[in-house]
Amino acid sequence: MSSATTTEETHAAGGHGHGSKYPFLAHHFDTPAHQFDSAKLGMWIFIATEILMFGGLFVAYGLFRGQEQEMFHQAHERLDKIMGAVNTVVLLFSSLTAALAVRQSQVGDRKGTTRWLIITLLCACIFLVVKFFEYQHKFHDGLLPGHYFTAHLAQHAHHGHVLPYRAHMFFALYFMMTGLHGVHVLIGMGVLTWALRRNLNGKISKQYFTPIEIGALYWHLVDLVWIYLFPLLYLVG
């Protein structure tokens, strides 16, 4: 988000100062490097905020898992490890392609940047599709948070093994954590799409690749959170 701010300044700088030399340089920065460093620092601070936000959920997870280890163990077996693992690989790969997009933008390869950004966005779509099927399955089985949890009614008909009392707590955390992460995937896709649009419009150059760089930075955060979510939720046992 901070990126939008710095980079959209382009026309505002047109009239005064060094605008003519670097059309993308906002009037309150001295040099392109100065502007780039500021944008990057802004994104790092925003990432700190995001981590604290997820932090609340991780604390809740730690607390309830400590209280009900057995329940967590049994409830987590209802998650699809294969789908989770596929998503992990997809997201890790997308982080690589995001980094490659940054690299290509730094050397001024516009086509390469576009290619890697599109692959990153495709990976994000694959992630969401897999997540959709996972959610659909949980909805079907009634593995839902709180009052909507109905799996205990149907469980004899299904797998045979009985879910422990309060398994809905596990799914409450599961849906909150993966749901918030999913929202972040969408936000990240928005940021990357915006960066892609700027690249296609020819706004990105060797001197100015801030949107790609900080978009990718944000995307790595999305990846990082998932790297913690996957083992904590899918591989508890």
């Binding site: 988000m1 901070s2 939008a4 701010t5 710095t6 959209e8 300044e9 026309h11 505002a12 047109g14 009239g15 005064h16 906002a26 009037h27 309150h28 920065f29 100065h34 460093d37 500021s38 944008a39 620092l41 802004g42 601070i45 925003f46 700190a48 905020t49 995001e50 604290l52 936000m53 997820f54 932090g55 609340g56 959920l57 604390v59 809740a60 607390l63 309830f64 009900e68 948070p145 709180g146 009052h147 909507y148 309060r166 809905h168 707590m169 409450a172 955390l173 909150m176 918030l180």
Partner: protein
């Protein structure tokens, strides 16, 4: 008006004349609503928080009026619960948290640094609109049944209350992002946009205070966001995380809530401290005593603020060990607070004190914050807290800190920078009269509350035994004196806007850098990027021209 700005040839609407006074650099309502100028955004925040303060103040008067007599005075118990909740929620989330950072910080901080703007002007405007959207949600909650949970939204009551909790928590959730983005913007601005020569040891103490505040805003507010999101989900989906009957833990809500809301206390008070540090220097005409200690104590408060949240929960069923640890850590807060109070006092010593209204507010801060801070130690002491928790003693304590501290700092800063912001002088004797009413009224309201709290009057109660009647009545009369003070102050400011004399660039003769530009500042703050060669409180190094004229060439440019 809007079309005027749009059709102006060659002038893009956000490309005003850099050398014109910021108030008239571009014209029309639209040019204000879409401005990227930190000064205009600061002014828009100032107007918004003033409206919020007015609303919160009206609710406060209603609370006091209801409590004038035992039993029903003007409203029923259910209405009363809503009124005190709205007073708290509006004052905390809509007024006090954005008040100094977003309104005055936005205006003054970049000028103090010698910067042309904050690092991310678009983000700055965005955070203002996020604030407006959040405020709309809160207003929607008020008209759709309001909230009766208290501003703390404690579970399980908040999850079962039929009042409009979800829209209020959504509003506060959104307001949080406004606060985060402002903090983020300030941190980057302070790191990256200091003028040449403005190294860290020359940063004005207001900037140090804003820096500490911003760190808290960035690191604590997201925890509130996730807490309120969980609370909303709890209500909508019956999530169960805070619901004991589903295996959740209601006390976890309190932990989460105070993990934000205790640091938020420092989001409120540190900016007040930041302002009075400036006021003491300017109106004592000397370098701040212990400059670096004051700067570091702001950061110290920011750090300690994260470690003491458990002292709100001594009686909520925490383990005894936790309460001991939190009590001990709470005592540590007295150290940076004491460092500040003693250094301010030492700054006054042998200074040439000029008792202007801003200085009177700064001195009020010193006295009232000391009372508020020391009574905090009573509450941090475990055995005493058992007796005092959830009484009017607590109410009086945090009002002495929040109102006696932050609001006094806010008013002092408002009057101090008023000539800079508006370009107009205000009527000093009338402002002093309003200060007298506010100071006397404030103490009347809350000293009575200290006494009745220590005698066991619980907070938030609608009714009380007749023995407490004199204290409640005294407190209510005080609230009227306080209100009169605020109305006089509003009159003074309106009179200044309409008929005030034109202010010179540096009406107080301050050595602070924000006075080295015209009043009101030009659009780009300084005609040329200033080069800083001395500290902001180095009166011995400031020239006569800097102290009494500002930079006349800038001033002339504005005139022409």
């Amino acid at each position: 008006m809007a079309t005027e700005a749009e059709i102006a040839p060659s002038h893009h609407h956000d490309e005003p004349d850099p050398n014109a006074n910021y108030l008239i650099a571009s014209k029309g309502v639209w040019s204000w609503l879409t401005t990227l100028d930190h000064k205009r955004i600061g002014v828009m925040y100032l107007i918004s928080v003033t409206l919020a303060f007015f609303m919160g103040g009206m609710f406060a008067l209603l609370i006091r009026l209801e409590l004038l007599t035992p039993g029903r005075t003007i409203m029923g118990a259910a209405t009363y619960n809503r009124v005190f909740t709205l007073h708290g929620a509006i004052m905390v989330f809509l007024f006090i948290i954005p008040s100094i950072p977003a309104a005055m910080g936005n205006f003054i901080l970049p000028i103090m640094l010698g910067a042309k703007d904050v690092a991310f002007p678009r983000l700055n405007l965005m955070s203002f609109y996020i604030y407006v959207i959040g405020a709309i949600f809160c207003l929607f909650s008020i008209v759709s049944g309001a909230v009766d949970t208290g501003w703390t939204f404690y579970t399980p009551y908040s999850t079962t209350s039929s009042s409009s909790v979800v829209s209020m928590t959504l509003g506060v959730f959104i307001l949080g992002f406004s606060s985060i983005l402002t903090g983020l913007n300030f941190i980057v601005t302070i790191h990256k946009l200091r003028a040449p020569g403005m190294h860290w040891r020359r940063l004005p103490l207001f900037v140090w205070g804003m820096y500490a505040t911003s760190v808290i805003q960035v690191l604590a507010t997201p925890v509130l966001a996730i807490t309120l999101a969980l609370l909303a989900m709890e209500k909508v989906l019956g999530l169960g995380i805070f619901d004991a009957s589903l295996g959740g833990d209601p006390v976890l809500f309190q932990h989460f809530f105070w993990f934000y809301s205790h640091p938020a206390v420092y989001i409120m008070i540190v900016p007040g401290m930041a302002i009075v540090s400036e006021l003491f220097a300017t109106f004592s005409r000397r370098a701040v005593f212990g400059y670096f200690a004051i700067a570091m104590s702001s950061l110290g408060l920011a750090l300690l603020g994260f470690l003491v949240w458990g002292h709100h929960m001594f009686t909520s069923g925490q383990s005894e060990f936790s309460t001991m640890v939190f009590s001990g850590l709470t005592m540590l807060v007295a150290i940076p607070s004491g460092v500040k109070v003693f250094n301010w006092t030492a700054t006054l010593y042998k200074g040439s004190i000029w008792l202007t209204t801003p200085m009177l507010y700064a001195l009020s801060f010193l006295v009232l914050f000391t009372i508020g801070g020391l009574t905090g130690l009573f509450l941090g002491t475990l055995s005493v807290d058992i007796h005092l928790h959830d009484t009017y003693f607590v109410v009086a304590h945090f009002h002495y800190v929040m109102m006696g501290g932050t609001v006094m700092g806010f008013l002092g800063g408002l009057l101090y920078w008023w000539p800079k912001i508006t370009g107009k002088l205000y009527n000093e004797p009338a402002a002093k009269v309003s200060w007298g009413f506010i100071f006397v009224g404030f103490n009347a309201v809350f000293i009575a509350q200290f006494i009745m709290g220590s005698r066991g009057m619980p907070r938030r109660y609608y009714d009380y035994v007749p023995e407490f009647r004199p204290y409640h009545a005294f407190s209510t009369y005080g609230s009227w004196v306080l209100a009169v003070g605020f109305f006089i102050l509003a009159g003074v400011l309106i009179q200044s806007l309409l008929k005030g004399a034109k202010s010179p660039p540096n009406p107080w003769g301050s050595a602070g850098f924000e006075w080295n530009t015209s009043s009101p500042p030009i659009y780009s703050n300084f005609a040329e990027t200033p080069v800083i060669t001395r500290g902001p409180y180095d009166y011995h190094e400031a020239t006569e021209e800097e102290l009494f004229d500002g930079f006349p060439e800038d001033f002339k440019k504005t005139e022409s």
